[in-house]
Symmetry: C2
Subunit: 169 residues, 2 copies
Amino acid sequence: MRIGELAHKSGLTTSKIRFYERIGLLKAVDRRSNGYRTYSSQAVTILGLITTAQRAGFTLDEIRALLPSDLTRWDHATLMDALTRKIADIEALQARLTQSRVHLLRLIEDIQARPDDMDCAANAHRVLTNMLAEHPEALDVTSDDIRLLDATDRRQSVSSGRRKKTASR
Amino acid sequence: MRIGELAHKSGLTTSKIRFYERIGLLKAVDRRSNGYRTYSSQAVTILGLITTAQRAGFTLDEIRALLPSDLTRWDHATLMDALTRKIADIEALQARLTQSRVHLLRLIEDIQARPDDMDCAANAHRVLTNMLAEHPEALDVTSDDIRLLDATDRRQSVSSGRRKKTASR
DNA sequence: GCTAACGTTGAACATAAGTTCAACGTCAAG
DNA sequence: CTTGACGTTGAACTTATGTTCAACGTTAGC
């Protein structure tokens, strides 16, 4: 079959198929005398496999490293290893997303917890201070800086509890 | 303070800080007569805020849209809306990661479940058939999802799996 | 006055996964 | 023989988030 039919059968665009060939991902391609590419029905399977692997979180580079030229000759050990590591990656990512989500939820709560007697500006400052104090990892916010931040508006800064301390530098 | 000190205090590189300024994200900058940038301590806060928001899955574009020039004057409604939607995004992504993880686990099981009397080639074919049969329809991963992913981790794409029949064993 | 550390700029480069385009070739039908 | 659908190529473009580089200016200390 020619590229248009393969595109139709695989649900991919012709440009994507040609791109996969260009980067050495799809080698199951022949040429007719007129220069046209021809594919066997195996190509549909391979493209389906690539798409599936991509959805499972593999990059095209990873897929290329795993995909054998002969679909019946997989590198069993390498494949299982890659699958296992990908699962670990996913789990790590899930943990981070959970953290992110909790952080956002806490932020929403914190914003809504504005004391009745506090104006918006002061509340913004309170929330901001809490938030930055909560995530000192990347930020070299010294306690001096926190105090400096507080100093820009001396209203009450109701802490929602946990305020981590940063190492001074 | 000059850019070097700001970089040090914020934990970012000077090139990143200049980049943020270039794209209109960091407007809190003045110039001395010699052309040097100078920053107030507010800039540290703003950069911390940007970093935190990025970790929570916001793009720089989104952050720019939300970040007020005056840190005490937030658009409350817009902000809360953005936070709420970002949480929903995260939850959707988590659901898909779970699907992806389950799919990979099932694939590993399936590969290991090779009948004693089946050779590797036939097993490869069996597993492949099962797997492709499991993904009959294309489920799109939007660029939005990818971006949220990238924000928390460097490059791991995502999938969603569809339930299936357990075929020829 | 020299040197080192710091600052400035615009432009190019990097990544991943493609898309788009112009200019051209092939082929079947009318 | 013309038209339209399909195919070919290489190069440039895309998005997001920066980094790197060359060439140059500024400043503090010796």
